[in-house]
């Protein structure tokens, strides 16, 4: 298969500067060409739920804007200048230098420069994220590696404190809402989430990462490397829960799994589950008339998304909503080593249902495959804005759930948990109902 890609769903390693922006008062310093940041934030920000600049994003990001001069003579002098002045100009609690292709190919010694600032006691780390190294999901892990290796200090473990590694900031369009929902779920068990990304985040929470009783990875593969790294360095155990919990079946299973791992009294866990499920089914019961009686309801669905969302949504729609998964397209450039594990997760549905998975980050290939599928009834395509075209052509229902999402404004929305599932039902069936009127 060709390696080239069309209709891209993620960007390059350097896109991980967005993960830095997701930590309040953390500041990326980008040592790259002049257009990298603007290009990357188009796919990850402005055309992905219309996530804007925020505190120090967009054109506020310190950047060397490498020119021909830096490429020919080296860019370290300019980088040193920009870092020095960043400390005077920008208010921040943690600074992360990220490099692009220009620097990594010509071999600027960014480590040497950064170490001098570290030696002065500045809260700064560096990470080589030249775009050719892989996706921004890998970049996200590289940023966390840099913070772990160059910045974190051993701490006394605080019982009940949990680091959650799940949605990738900005890449997963609903990341900040997801984090808020996951925090609520974890808190409902009496645990304390250490909030590293999103509206309640802080660099203090980053400092506290080694304090956690355990790391909780909620993703098919992203974050595993971080959890393993933290286990090696600080001895923190971790729990890997591959599916994003959406809907009662998965969320209740998730809460029981976490509860058991954390040693929480099952009575507490069951009490939480009972209350949440009662609320969920109060609403679902009311929805059921329309779910059953509306003309032209979708019976089968296709997802085109990161493994995190494809799996989470497929589980919910199959296990809770009675829909049938068609091909599931995983577009997050899942590393080959993880692909069989991810595929295995798509074999674990109710009623012995299994879904075929296709790994490809080439949206053009995905589109060709979708056009080849023979689907009875109007299908439901849960993908990105790119799929709006193929959905129109195939008379399918389309809901945007994965990057890039240009056709929706996304703020605190999340499909995670019990309430998130209700939101997903609202949104899917609003697409269907809007289609009639």
């Amino acid at each position: 298969m060709s390696l080239c890609v069309e209709q891209i769903r993620h960007v390059c390693t350097l896109g991980a500067f967005e993960s830095v922006l997701a930590i309040k008062r953390a500041v990326p310093i980008v040592h790259a060409g002049p257009g990298c940041v603007a290009k990357l934030w188009t796919t990850l920000g402005s055309q992905n739920g219309h996530q804007g600049s925020g505190y120090v994003g967009g054109h506020a990001i310190p950047c060397t804007n490498a020119s021909e001069k830096e490429v020919v003579f080296g860019g370290t002098d300019q980088l040193r200048k920009v870092i020095t002045n960043t400390f005077d100009v920008i208010n921040g609690d943690l600074f992360v230098v990220l490099t692009g292709c220009t620097s990594d190919i010509i071999g600027d010694d960014v480590g040497e420069i950064t170490r001098k600032f570290q030696a002065q006691g500045k809260p700064i780390v560096y990470v080589e994220t030249g775009g050719f190294k892989g996706s921004n999901l890998i970049g996200h892990e590289l940023v966390l590696d840099a913070i772990i290796d160059q910045y974190l200090q051993p701490q006394q473990v605080e019982s009940g404190l949990v680091n959650i590694w799940s949605s990738v900031p900005y890449q997963n369009t609903f990341w900040s809402g997801d984090i808020e929902q996951l925090n609520l779920l974890i808190s409902s068990l009496g645990l304390k989430p250490n909030v590293i990304f999103g509206p309640d985040s802080s660099v203090d929470a980053v400092n506290d990462i080694p304090k956690a009783q355990f790391n909780l990875v909620i993703s098919p593969w992203v974050g595993l490397r971080t959890a393993e790294h933290l286990k090696d360095k600080f001895g923190t155990p971790f729990l890997h829960y591959p599916a994003l919990p959406i809907g009662p079946t998965e969320t209740s299973n998730f809460l029981r799994t976490v509860g058991e791992f954390a040693g929480i009294d099952p009575a507490i866990v069951e009490n939480v589950i009972r209350k949440q499920e009662e609320r969920y089914f109060y609403y679902l019961e009311r929805a059921a008339d329309t779910l059953l009686e509306t003309r032209l309801l979708p019976r089968r669905f296709i997802t085109v998304a990161d493994s995190l969302y494809a799996l989470g949504i497929a589980r919910f729609l199959t296990n809770d909503m009675g829909l049938i998964p068609e091909k599931q397209f995983i577009t997050d450039d899942t590393p080959a080593d993880y692909q069989s594990d991810v595929t295995a997760e798509f074999g674990k549905f109710t009623n012995d249902i299994a879904a075929e998975t296709v790994f490809s980050n080439d949206g053009g290939y995905v589109e060709e495959e979708i056009r080849r599928l023979k689907i009875r009834s109007r299908p439901l395509i849960l993908g990105s804005s790119w799929e709006r075209v193929v959905a129109r052509d195939l008379n399918a229902y389309q809901l945007s759930v994965s990057a890039p999402i240009g056709n929706e404004m996304v703020l605190s929305k999340s499909y995670v948990g019990y309430n998130g599932a209700l939101q997903l039902v609202e949104n899917i069936y609003s697409v269907v109902l809007n289609d009639f009127m």
């Binding site: 060709s2 390696l3 080239c4 890609v5 069309e6 209709q7 891209i8 993620h10 390059c12 390693t13 060409g33 002049p34 257009g35 990298c36 603007a38 290009k39 934030w41 188009t42 796919t43 402005s46 055309q47 992905n48 804007g52 600049s53 505190y55 967009g58 054109h59 506020a60 310190p62 950047c63 804007n65 020119s67 021909e68 200048k81 920009v82 002045n85 960043t86 005077d88 100009v89 920008i90 208010n91 921040g92 292709c101 220009t102 190919i105 010509i106 030249g130 775009g131 050719f132 190294k133 921004n136 980050n361 053009g364 804005s385 790119w386 709006r388 075209v389 129109r392 890039p404 240009g406």
Partner: protein, 502 residues
């Protein structure tokens, strides 16, 4: 420097047009220095993320209806494509077309390709684009990585072109090559001028090439040109390869934006004998008058233009007076590309507003016809000398200056800019449509847009009260151009005079 079509690579603006991204002074000084040829770029000791020419090149070419683009670089170099596609959806929507996605393939350059060369993946990308889209031409845009590793893309393209039998055209737009993103438009036009546009077999004197972006003003221009006995041909966006190949047949070329259209217009004039209308932009009354008058002069329709303008003037007068009354004395800061900035400064002053600062995101000392940009020359002739600066959207300068000048409104044009004025409590307008303030009725519409923005500033005020800017107190106390390494920079005192005491 005349436009050289014998080379496959366009000469970047810094060399061709003595363009700069660092300057602070006044419009008169800027014009004088560029006319005497001594304008120098000033670099900065602190800089923030800007844009590169690759985005302009592939974004612009991606709107050609039957072409495809192969972007040769790591996947992030296609990060802008989602934005290009959003614009493309809008362009198709306003034409009532069936919407499809842009046709851009990225070669997904990996570490292996960086080490061992990317020629093979480039070839695969071109073949894949041909197979998927059956295009009439393929444009290959380069990246920093492909440029530095020194892939011989031209020989790969030549051999692949022989295989598939359609033009496979290089577009050299490595991000590091130029600090001026508009160099990317030139790279796109260079590709068209060298490989797509053919010498005219027959001339069509009534045909006028109109260089624009999305082209929301097509109906109006068609109507106006119709009265002059002219037929507009809009592009490059939403044209096909065959139409573009015959742009040489036109009687004239005119552009909605001097920064955008100069290379194409002058290239057509110098190499294909199609006169390029060098005029003010058609934004605001005096700009529109000049634009249409110069077009009339070029194609011999002076009388018709005069009649049309006289008619419009009468119709628009009462409403324009009302707008001027409401906007009188309101302070405004402008931040746009150079042509838009210097044209909008004029139009805002014409509306009775006081332009207290003009940012332009680069500045061309001259345009490809050889002279200083007409909008700049025109502004420099006015009684009032307006303080201006040039930066590639350097946010620290903009925020610092806005916090000191505190205008009533900020008017910008580029994504990721207007929000920062709003965060300071200053209402902002983003002029994203190139036909905003076009002609008499467009100017009236735009006037009302400003009035509306001034009427309710609650979003800006509330936001500014609750958010923290990322800048330190120290920085906000400094001169906005502290990091600009410019020798003849205005002194702190002179600058204060320009900024604060107005």
């Amino acid at each position: 420097m005349s436009i050289n079509l014998d080379r496959s690579q366009v000469t970047i603006r810094e060399k061709r047009l003595k363009s700069i991204v660092g300057y602070q002074g006044t419009i008169r000084d800027l014009a004088e220095q560029s006319q005497s040829g001594c304008l120098k770029n000033a670099s900065r000791g602190f800089s923030q993320a800007t844009n590169c020419n690759s985005g302009c090149a592939q974004g612009y070419l991606s709107t050609i209806t039957d072409a495809a683009i192969v972007n040769h670089g790591p996947i992030g170099c296609a990060g802008d494509v989602a934005g290009a596609n959003a614009g493309f959806q809008w362009g198709q929507r306003i034409r009532d077309w069936n919407q499809r996605n842009v046709r851009i393939i990225n070669t997904n350059m990996s570490e292996k390709a960086v080490v061992f060369g990317g020629d093979q993946i480039l070839k695969e990308g071109i073949l894949k684009a041909y197979e998927r889209f059956k295009p009439k031409a393929i444009f290959v845009t380069t990246s920093c990585a492909s440029g530095i590793i020194g892939d011989d893309i031209e020989s790969t393209m030549k051999s692949t072109e022989a295989e598939i039998g359609i033009p496979v055209v290089p577009v050299f737009c490595e991000g590091f090559r130029s600090q001026i993103w508009a160099s990317g438009f030139d790279a796109a036009f260079h590709a068209l001028l060298t490989r797509i546009i053919k010498p005219a077999e027959k001339k069509r004197p009534e045909l006028v090439n109109v260089i624009n972006f999305v082209g929301s003003g097509r109906a109006l221009i068609t109507e106006i040109f119709g009265r002059l006995g002219l037929v507009p041909q809009f592009g490059i966006p939403y044209s096909n390869i065959d139409e573009i190949s015959r742009w040489s047949e036109a009687g004239a070329t005119i552009s909605i934006c001097g920064t955008l259209g100069g290379y194409m217009g002058n290239g057509l004039e110098q190499n294909f004998g199609v006169p390029y209308v060098t005029a003010l932009q058609p934004h605001g009354i005096s700009g529109f008058d000049d634009w249409l008058t110069k077009l009339g002069e070029t194609v011999g329709k002076e009388k018709e233009v005069e009649e049309y303008l006289a008619e419009q003037k009468v119709i628009a007068a009462p409403e324009l007076e009302e707008i001027k009354f409401k906007l009188k004395g309101k302070k405004v800061v402008v931040g746009m590309g150079p042509s838009f900035a210097h044209n909008y400064i004029r139009l805002l002053e014409d509306l009775g507003m006081e332009v207290v600062w003009g940012f332009s995101w680069h500045y061309d000392s001259k345009h490809d016809h050889g002279g200083c940009p007409s909008c700049t020359v025109e502004l420099a002739k006015q009684d009032k000398d307006i303080p201006v600066s040039v930066s590639d959207q350097q946010n620290h300068e903009v925020i610092n200056l806005l916090s000191k000048v505190k205008p009533d409104i900020f008017i910008g044009r580029h994504p990721g800019m207007s929000v920062w004025a709003t965060k300071l409590g200053i209402p902002a307008i983003m002029v994203s449509d190139e036909y905003s303030a076009f002609g008499y009725q467009g100017t009236i519409e735009f006037g009302h847009r400003i009035i509306d923005a001034l009427t309710n500033n609650s979003l800006a005020v509330n936001l500014s009260k609750r958010i923290n800017l990322p800048y330190t107190e120290w920085w906000l106390e400094q001169d906005p151009f502290n990091f600009l390494e410019q020798k003849n920079k205005k002194t702190e005192r002179e600058n204060k005079k320009n900024v604060a005491v107005r």
